[in-house]
């Protein structure tokens, strides 16, 4: 693999000149490549891209997201997925072909205010994103706390092959369900949740720095050292069909590709 160069850029910065191809968050005029977002630019061979450090969540098919049910109609749920479009979850996707708008009460499945884990089934420029909860580990979220981070920093929280989220899970004894949209559900003991929450915010703060894994490792070790014993394991008062650890694992796999592209 060729050597990757990184530098800080703001919109309008000339990243490269010559025979280069802009891959993401960059554009070309003539033979010059310019940055479109604030972030870290990467030159990999003749490919140029900018890893953004801020910005909204843009839905992508197959992304696992955590959403809040905002509205229920006779045929669909409207879900806030922290994006500039409201997502919708059609009732037929939950009830299947037996769905009967007259008989089925959508509120009995998901009510307004409830948190769901879903996957983006379809999205393009002309339509609002459509969600699906048919699949293992999808559906109503287990009880826990919800943390919001900047969506662009989610790949860092997951880490290589899920290493970062695994480290936080191991240290806090909590389970993390990470939505690509920046909503994270933490389930476990109150102490563990507090530790995981602090660690997640630390990842968000230092997402652009190198040696992030070591920083978080040190932070977790210090916190555990201070409190003596590692916090207790995950709480027992929940666990519906969703198995959060596996859900995070599935996300990790997805983000792997992102992370590998970064490296």
């Amino acid at each position: 693999m060729s050597k990757v160069e990184r530098k800080y850029v703001v919109p309008g910065d000339v990243i490269a000149e010559g025979d280069f191809v802009p891959v993401s968050n960059a554009y070309s005029i003539g033979n010059k490549i310019y940055a479109m977002r604030v972030g870290l630019c990467e030159l990999d061979g003749n490919k140029v891209k900018v890893i953004p450090l801020s910005g909204p969540y843009v839905p992508k098919p197959d992304d696992v997201v955590v959403g809040v049910v905002k509205d229920v109609s006779a045929f669909a749920w409207t879900v806030d997925i922290n994006s500039f479009f409201p997502a919708f979850l059609p009732a037929s996707g939950v009830y299947g072909r037996r769905f009967n708008a007259e008989k089925d009460d959508l509120r009995s499945k998901f009510d307004v205010g409830e948190i769901i884990i879903a996957v983006v089934a379809a999205f393009d420029r002309s339509k609002d994103p459509m969600l699906s909860v048919s699949g293992p580990r999808l559906g109503l979220a287990p009880p826990g706390i919800i943390i919001k981070i900047e969506p662009v920093k989610v790949p860092r929280l997951i880490g290589r092959r899920g290493s970062m989220s695994k480290m936080i899970e191991d240290a806090s004894g909590c389970k993390l369900i990470i939505g690509q949209n920046g909503y994270i559900i933490v389930t476990g003991s109150p102490e563990g949740c507090a530790l995981a929450s602090d660690a997640i915010h630390m990842v968000e703060d230092f997402a652009h720095t190198s040696g992030l894994t070591e920083k978080i490792e040190r932070f977790l070790a210090e916190r555990l050292g201070l409190t003596g014993e590692p916090p207790a394991g995950p709480g027992q008062a929940h666990e519906p069909a969703a198995a959060p650890a596996d859900a995070a694992g599935a996300l990790g796999k997805d983000s792997d590709q992102l992370e590998e592209k970064r490296e």
Binding site: V10, P11, G12, R37, S54, G55, R125, S126, K148
Partner: protein, 242 residues
């Protein structure tokens, strides 16, 4: 009023082609998606960006791009005499002018059917508040992570007592002969705003325009540095959730 003394110094002690001190800070407002604070001479201005978000009312949404909305507002205490808080004719015009100066820099096609809102609050007003507002708003847009072709910087040139001057203060704006605000994308080398109030000969115009353009490049360095230090500064980046 004597705007330029016998030594060629201006009312606030500057030389003809001096800028006032400019200070920009980015990411200052926790609840906005992007924000910037600028102090430019006596101007103190906040710019905040919300969006992209759902566009309301729906009928103004565009199928292929985002709608850019801009509100320039002066606080009642921003000028010596109380300013009525409702939008004045001048504020409505400046909102439009600022929006149009920023539009060429934004890649609005990335966010179809949405709206991006820019709010500009002038806390203390001096001359050149539109230039300062554009500069701050561009930094706030970059902070919000909105895709842009380039940052936009703006500086005014002008003429007072038959001398071409740069970066007019309030007295020079009111008592001077010409005000020539220029907004400019430095990397694209493109002008996004050019207004002129008064009369200049062709030669004077070229000279004043080039003065403004060069000053834009100087302010751009400060603006770029502010955006960079928001994300890559020594201090811990501000956590928006904290």
């Amino acid at each position: 009023m004597n705007l330029i003394d016998e030594n060629g110094l201006r009312i606030d002690g500057r030389k003809l082609d001096d800028l006032r001190p400019v200070k920009i800070e980015v990411g200052v407002l926790k609840n906005a998606d992007g924000s910037a604070y600028i102090e430019w001479g006596k101007n103190k201005i906040f710019a905040a960006v919300r969006g992209p978000k759902e566009c309301h009312p729906k009928h103004i949404a565009m199928a292929d791009r985002a709608v850019l909305k801009c509100r320039y507002h002066m606080t009642p205490f921003s000028v010596p005499d109380r300013k009525a808080p409702q939008p004045s004719r001048r504020e409505i015009e400046l909102s439009k002018v600022i929006r149009e100066a920023l539009t060429p820099a934004l890649i609005l096609e990335e966010y179809p059917r949405t709206a991006i809102e820019i709010y500009i609050e002038v806390l203390t007003s001096d001359g050149g508040s539109r230039a300062a507002s554009i500069t701050a708003a561009a930094a706030a847009l970059a902070d919000a992570g909105i895709t842009m072709r380039d940052l936009v910087v703006s500086v005014a040139a002008g003429k007072a007592q038959d001398h071409l001057i740069l970066d007019l203060c309030d007295e020079e704006d009111k008592e001077g002969q010409v005000d020539l605000p220029v907004a400019y994308m430095p990397n694209m080398d493109q002008v996004t705003l050019l207004q002129m109030d008064g009369f200049l000969t062709r030669e004077e115009f070229e000279k004043a325009f080039n003065m403004a353009k060069e000053a834009c490049k100087a302010v751009y360095k400060i603006q770029r540095e502010a955006v960079i230090s928001r994300y890559f500064g020594d201090s811990i980046p501000k956590n928006k959730e904290a």
